[in-house]
């Protein structure tokens, strides 16, 4: 009986995969050639890399809301985590501790590089923030960083900084006519400012998802 059900599920899944593949092959030509339009307007965006231009300029509204969603997710995790006394992490193997001490500063350096290079090449705030968060998780695993008991005012400020900077810039350029339409001369600087705030906040938020949820030591 269960064997027959499993065979049926496999058959249905294979059928769905085949139908999806056929649908992909049958897609019509897109009416608007977006890559060409992005390339045409790249000069006004303030950055040289098309992905960053779309994320932080042409479609900045999407990114603004994404950052808000990320922050909300962490607020949910913090609300679910039971309050507990701050506890020093269990001491890890000395080799792991030494490695973490050596690697963490390099990871911060890589995050700064990814943030800066995002204007010209693959990189940007999300990738830089992810590297920062990975450094935080590594330090936590090595027992060098305590879990978050109750995030203090400074930590909360850091979590909200990226979104606040983003909203502040959005409000500041609202006089131009439409939302998040930067003046072309200042676009590069504004994007770097937003991305710097975002890198810190995304790094703290992603690390917080791990650091806030791991309070119960076995």
């Amino acid at each position: 009986m269960s064997r027959a059900v499993a065979a049926l599920v496999v058959l249905l899944a294979a059928g769905l995969a085949a139908a999806l593949g056929l649908a992909m092959l049958d897609l019509p030509e897109p009416a608007v050639r977006l890559p060409a339009r992005v390339a045409a307007k790249l000069g006004d965006s303030g950055v040289d890399h098309p992905v960053t231009a779309v994320l932080l300029n042409f479609r900045a509204y999407d990114t603004l809301l994404e950052v808000a969603v990320l922050l909300l997710a962490l607020v949910g995790v913090l609300a679910l985590a039971r309050p507990h006394a701050a506890r020093a992490a269990a001491p890890a193997h000395p080799l792991l501790q030494t490695l973490a001490r050596l690697v963490a500063p390099l990871m911060v350096l890589v995050a700064g590089y990814l943030l800066w290079i995002g204007a010209h090449a693959p990189g940007g705030a999300f990738q830089a923030g992810a590297v920062l968060a990975a450094a935080g998780v590594l330090l936590r695993l090595a027992g060098l960083l305590p879990a978050w008991a109750q995030p203090g005012l400074l930590l909360r400020g850091g979590l909200a900084l990226g979104l606040l900077v983003f909203v502040a810039v959005a409000v500041a350029v609202l006089g131009q006519g439409s939302l998040l339409q930067y003046p072309p001369a200042a676009a590069g600087g504004l994007i770097l400012l937003i991305e710097a705030g975002l890198t810190l906040s995304i790094g703290l938020t992603l690390a917080g998802l791990y650091l806030a949820g791991t309070e119960v030591e076995p």
Binding site: V51, L114, P122, G123, G124, F126, Q127, A130, V131, A133, A134, V137, L141, L206, L209, Y210, G213, T214, V216, P218
Partner: protein, 85 residues
Amino acid sequence: MTAALAFDLLLVAALVWSAARALTVADVFRGVVLFIVFGLLMALAWARLGAPDIALAEAAIGAGLTGALLLDAVGHLRAKREPGP
């Protein structure tokens, strides 16, 4: 058949294999490790498709941070199942 095509075919096979194994393996810990392997292979696939931005994010978030969270969850599950000393 060029070397690039052979590499791509190998990559696709490894992706499908690791995805299937991650879902079907009985041991949860093995499943998580296979999921991390899948994430790293996926990052390679994005790089091959010419999307280094997504490859970076996939490697850091999809494989790294999600993997750490899942491993932590496995640890909690095991600690709950076998009460510690």
